[in-house]
Subunit: 326 residues, 3 copies
């Protein structure tokens, strides 16, 4: 699937890519074109991919990509159809290369292409407040409300019967039917992703988007960052209270309830029917099962299986927590 929001500035000749990465590889036909950069699994023979950790060895063996950015020690796990491009730091090289394909995904400067909604096709279709701005590539369904001073920046699709509050900013997001996003939110900005380098960090691209499914509610002052490679997803009928922070690539299931000031760090996956109490925090790259209940104030630092009730910091079985803290 091509990226719905970020323009692919490719194809690039492989010779140009080699030069860009500052490496030489013998026997490559310099005239071959590379159409896109994708992960090991979804690449096909017109794409370049990357392989940076042993744990992806099995997927690497079956990649269809023609080229792969990787390391000296990993290159032998690639299949014959895939030519290894060996670099010192795979993630930094991939970050730079992704930026070459998708240069618009690096910086989230304010969208200066927006215009007053009263000068757009939406003027009669949307019930809107004062000073509402609309960017390029925006669609809005029927019976929607958009509050005062709200900015729908570029690359936003809003379904039917949605209510957006005032002073809210949205970009690079797909919002399904019957969703409410209250005041002072920021949805769809890039996540907190960069390589720390002394004096000048290197930001990596965020080519994903935010997907908010049907019937969700997002409370005041919340921030939901878009994904870097994958998307950030809020499942159907999941409700978020005020001042919540959802980091990039997080996926939350359906019918979940998340109380005020909760924070979920990057790439964690939350199941269906999950209840999270106020101010709880969930570390990055975790998997929280279905029907899990997490007590207010908890700090979750490991995976939680389905149907468990946890509390504490670090979070443990709630009965144990209450007993130990007597």
């Amino acid at each position: 699937m091509s990226n719905p929001f970020f323009k692919n500035h490719g194809p690039f000749l492989i010779s140009e890519i080699l030069k860009f990465l500052n490496i030489k590889v013998d026997g490559i036909s310099s005239k071959q074109e590379v159409l896109d950069i994708k992960d090991l699994y979804s690449s096909n023979n017109t794409d370049i991919t990357f392989f940076h950790s042993k744990k992806y060895k099995d997927v690497a063996k079956n990649t269809k990509a023609s080229y792969c950015v990787t390391t000296e020690s990993l290159k032998n796990d690639l299949p014959k159809n895939c030519i290894p491009l060996v670099v010192d730091n795979v993630l930094i090289s991939v970050s730079k290369l992704t930026s070459k394909f998708y240069p618009d995904s690096i910086n989230d400067d304010f969208d200066d292409s927006v215009i007053d909604i009263l000068k757009t096709e939406f003027q009669n279709k949307v019930k809107c407040g004062n000073n509402v701005l609309i960017g390029k590539n925006v669609s809005i369904g029927l019976n929607c409300l958009i509050g005062h001073n709200t900015i729908i920046e570029k690359n936003v699709s809003i379904g039917n019967n949605c209510s957006i509050g005032s002073n809210t900013i949205i970009r690079n997001s797909i919002i399904k039917d019957n969703v409410k996003i209250l005041d002072n939110c920021v949805v769809g900005k890039h996540g907190f992703g960069f390589f720390p380098i002394d004096n000048k960090n290197l930001r990596y691209p965020h080519i994903g988007h935010v997907l908010i499914e049907e019937n969700c509610e997002i409370g005041c002052g919340s921030t939901i960052d878009r994904g870097s490679i994958s998307n950030t997803i809020i499942g159907k009928n999941t409700y978020l209270d005020n001042q919540i922070h959802i980091a990039h690539n997080v996926k939350i299931g359906k019918n979940s309830v998340i109380a005020g000031q909760v924070g979920i760090a990057g790439s964690s996956i939350i199941g269906n029917n999950v209840k999270i109490g106020g101010q709880a925090g969930i570390s990055g790259h975790l998997k929280i099962g279905n029907n899990v209940e997490i007590g207010g104030g908890s700090g979750v630092i490991k995976n939680i299986p389905d149907n468990k009730k946890v509390m504490g910091y670090p979070a443990k079985n709630i009965r144990e927590f209450l007993r130990d803290s007597k």
Copy 2:
């Protein structure tokens, strides 16, 4: 007392209410009118009330209401003057019925009735910034300041000598004299109250308001939700730092000091002269006494008597916390 902000769409004939709740009760005169829905304590003989938990048995015995939504097992505790209306789920039925009386209290869509302050009676009376919007049923006292892009939505009363910052949104609130509300706050929106139902939660009405007493200060980026049945109250001369979340029905006493990023969950009651350190969280439905000190980062999950100093998660005596954590 009648509701100051939400219009009562009653009275309704009791026959209409029975039909609405989809129940039948023998021997009720279908022509009797019901004026309002109130709690057990404040109802009188023109009202309908509700009784959903044994702990309200003593109040139920003395209610003056003519009708009461309740369960099969609780109905016998009602006095003779009060006819029980037995339902499966009292709170859901009451929620629906309250919505019937007060339909405007369910959704907090942006207020599209606001107009530019320069077109109102306040244009010469209030020192205001650029792009200030004022809703219906708003009063503002003498010597007040309202910053840029701030929206005073419907149903707000502001006293004398108040200073409201920029980018702030207020509705359904009573703000007394000499109050400061800084930038980017949202005051008076409905709380995080709903019945979780798969695929489509049911929001319950919030017919209360926010009351901020004299001399308070509310820091930047804070959210204070209005009450559902009762009100959310910040007592005299209480100061809130930045990024604080005060949930629905919370009541805070006077001369209290609450540091940054604190969260107080629904219906908790905080005393006078209470000091709460940064990032502390207080669970819902608790009672925190007068002169209590709560250390920064604490998670309070049970009541705290007057004059105690606590810290920790769960919060305990501060000396004990510091000793145990050595």
Copy 3:
């Protein structure tokens, strides 16, 4: 160095100051002028200073100030060149006196002196959004972006190549080159500093500013308060995620990384290359060394030496934390 942003309303005759403080001291020439109020260390013979705690005894002995607000028990530690002005509560008297010298530093009412950027010298120089307001004493470098509805209030210096988001408010701040400040932030407002007094707290002046060094990034919805006497500083190439609160007088070193919803209380000093996980809190007046790593959710309540990794509440050695919590 004179204050870059707050106008000194002095000099005042010492006789006027004595009257203002409601004290009498024999043998003072009433015609002598006092130019400024400074701390013990930086005062010279035209200034008044203050001395309120034994721990500053050594500095007090060498102060060059001609007058010093102090207590009966401390006054004998002052040198001969410095006349003690004995009061009951040094900090309250100093607060009042600082307010006399710098009356504009007490209240942070919205800046009503701002005008639309299109009516300023910046209209062609800055790429700006809709409804951008600019206050007095503002400078902006080359190649800067300022988003929609953002208010650059009085006393702000912005360097080259800066990108400010939308709905953000900045005052009393120095922002160096290549800084990004994202949406919905408030930078440079006074801190949460006041003397608690029943019924009417007394705010103390904040005559410092916020300094954000080169290459920093500040996430959405963050608040950074300016200093009271000293400044609040974010060092070079330090990145802050969303919803972070930095209190007055905090100083953060360079190349540090601070994840979402972190709070740092007043006057704490954070070193270089420090990493702080999401939702961690740091108490006031602490010193965190260089290369320290603080796990997400931690509550830091004492100093941390260089190179330590800590986690927990209260934070301790991370290995110990993980072991104890098994």
